[in-house]
């Protein structure tokens, strides 16, 4: 496989795991705009353990995941006391605190970043992403998943039904933090280098967008969102120059045109985002859609039996 495709597969797998990390709190009604902070915790923990102690990858990535999960658990208690836009700002502030701390830490390389000795090829993130996907599907099929979704819809009634909603929210937030940390650890080893600039606010925004646009009602949503938004820019990278030369030919420009400016990809991405919000505010994949597909499948199976 070419290096280009290997890189895309790695980043796709990492983004899927990362998106699931944000999906879990969002599915309980808690917007988490601090994704990059959790990812940075996992990435730097893995990088540090690998660079300083030469620990094997499963250990560095595992510890990175636990660190992010424990931090998520600890900050969940104060952070989940805030609601709505304040919660969004609090999670955002958390990510800034993490970034600031790392930037000022000489041990972690400060603004210079850190190289990560142990390299992993694309297969490992892809396999891990497969397991994470199965895990999230399992989680959403349990009563815990049911109470997560109920909490999202109506906290007061969910509480009256006997659900400890605080416990559900804290667990979803902490498990989500751990998954984001796992994504970070895999990132560190896949790209052999970590620098704090790659865990900036834009990353937190993008991953939240993957989740919201993919759909927060089922575990299919983040998968679709992460895949779509990781692959679309790559698709545009090849399609856009062709479109430009086609347009140039249309208006009669004969001489070869240069490739379009890179920022066009982001314009198109932004326009698509707005279109999605208008046309499918509940996200690309909704529950009703899944139910309908399932119903069609089971009724056609019944017809075959009859």
């Amino acid at each position: 496989m070419s290096g280009y495709w290997a890189g895309i597969l790695s980043i796709l797998a990492i983004n899927v795991i990362f998106a699931y990390g944000i999906f879990l709190p969002v599915a309980t009604g808690q917007l988490n705009l601090g994704g990059a902070g959790f990812q940075a915790l996992g990435a730097y923990t893995a990088a540090y353990l690998s660079a300083m102690f030469g620990l094997p990858v499963p250990v560095t990535v595992g510890v990175g995941m636990v660190v992010a999960g424990v931090v998520g658990f600890l900050i969940a208690f104060p952070i989940l006391r805030t609601r709505g836009v304040y919660l969004v700002l609090a999670t955002f502030a958390f990510a800034e605190v993490v970034a600031g701390t790392i930037l000022n830490s000489e041990t972690l390389g400060g603004a210079m970043g850190m190289s990560v000795p142990a390299f992993i090829d694309w297969e490992i993130p892809v396999i891990v992403a497969g397991f994470v996907t199965l895990f999230v599907f399992y989680l959403m099929s349990t009563r815990f998943g049911l109470t997560m979704r109920a909490t999202h819809d109506d906290e007061v009634v969910t509480d009256l039904m006997g659900v400890n909603i605080r416990m559900v929210q804290v667990c979803a937030f902490a498990i989500g933090g751990a998954l984001a940390g796992l994504a970070g650890g895999l990132y560190a080893h896949s790209f052999s280098f970590v620098e704090i600039q790659s865990f900036n606010a834009l990353v937190s925004i993008y991953v939240l967008l993957y989740v919201l646009l993919g759909g927060t009602q089922t575990a299919w949503g983040p998968l679709a969102g992460a895949a779509f938004f990781t692959l679309l820019p790559e698709l545009l990278r090849t399609v856009l120059p062709q479109v430009k030369s086609f347009l140039a030919a249309l208006v009669g420009i004969e001489e070869p045109v240069g490739p379009p400016d890179d920022s066009w990809r982001f314009v198109i991405l932004g326009a698509l985002t707005i279109a999605m919000m208008v046309l499918r505010p509940e996200g690309l994949i909704t529950r009703t859609m899944i139910e309908r597909l399932r119903f069609r499948r089971s009724s056609s199976a019944r017809e075959q039996v009859a």
Binding site: F137, Y138, S141, T142, R143, F144, L146, T147, R149, A150, H152, D153, D154, V156, V157, T158, D159, L160, M161, G162, V163, N164, I165, Q217, R287, T288, E291, R294, F295
Partner: protein, 266 residues
């Protein structure tokens, strides 16, 4: 008469300076079908909110089987046997019908193992089957997989009752269960509630449909402006001067009384 299952002792509730419930005491006997009635804004829903723990009383005490429940968090009360429905339907719009009902099982299934066992992954779990059976008995078996948001009002109203019932409560608090139902549906509901009552569940029902109240309930408590104005049999409730006045206003009540007396003379 048997001991009260639920009792309110001099309960008051203020919101800021606004006294919504004032010094209300009443008992709901074990196994009874008690109606809680009164004009709009009388405080009936607030009483339900106090019993289920959405709000804490400003004064007074609420007891279940003789024990004060005021210190119990709201989420623990359904486990002790207090389940309720809501006047404005409060089903989870993004959950399917059967999932909404399974949420009602939480108090019986919410331990760690219960939380981590799949309920919808491999075929039908026992919890799912139980929920589907109950929906079936309520005549709702055509809807289980559908998301609640799109269903008609009357159906959603019934699903709320099923969700409360699946908690296997000792007492069921129903807030206007027949509102928006047509005559046939109301009659069905009445029969269904009778069956529930006969299985030993105590009912406390807020309802405006007086014919349903009379045919279902034996005992009525009437509130007006947050105070109790009547506590007794449902048979005599409509003859009570204070109740007539609360519903009709002073002059209309006078008229109604003279009519009734004229009828007696004739």
């Amino acid at each position: 008469m048997s001991a009260p299952l639920l009792s309110l002792h001099a309960v008051s509730k203020n919101f800021g300076g606004l006294a919504v419930i004032t010094d209300v005491s009443f008992e709901v006997p074990q196994g009874s079908r008690t109606a809680l009635i009164g004009p709009n804004g009388a405080g009936k829903t607030t009483v339900f909110n106090l019993i289920s723990g959405v709000f804490a009383p400003s004064e007074g005490e609420i007891r279940l089987e003789g024990q004060s429940i005021d210190a119990l968090p709201s989420r623990s009360r359904i486990g002790l046997g207090v389940a309720r429905s809501f006047q404005n339907i409060r089903l989870m719009p993004h959950l399917s019908v059967v999932e909404n009902v399974m949420l009602g099982q939480q108090a019986r299934a919410g331990n760690l193992a219960g939380m981590l066992t799949p309920i919808s992954l491999f075929g039908r779990s026992k919890w799912r089957r139980e929920a589907e059976d109950l929906l079936d008995r309520m005549g709702l078996s055509t809807y289980p997989g559908e998301v609640v948001a799109t269903l008609p009002y009357g159906i959603r109203k019934k699903i709320e009752v099923v969700r409360a019932l699946v908690a296997k409560p000792k007492i069921l608090l129903l807030d206007e269960p027949a509102a928006g139902l047509n005559n046939t549906e109301t009659a069905n509901l009445r029969d269904f509630l009778m069956t529930i009552s006969q299985s030993g569940v105590t009912l406390l029902v807020v309802e405006h449909d007086m014919s349903l109240v009379r045919s279902l309930c034996d005992h009525a408590v009437v509130l007006n402006f947050g105070r109790k104005i009547y506590d007794g049999s449902t048979r005599t409730v409509q003859d009570d001067p204070a109740v007539l006045e609360a519903y009709l206003g002073t002059r209309q009540a006078e008229k109604a009384r003279t009519h009734a007396e004229a009828d007696h003379v004739a």
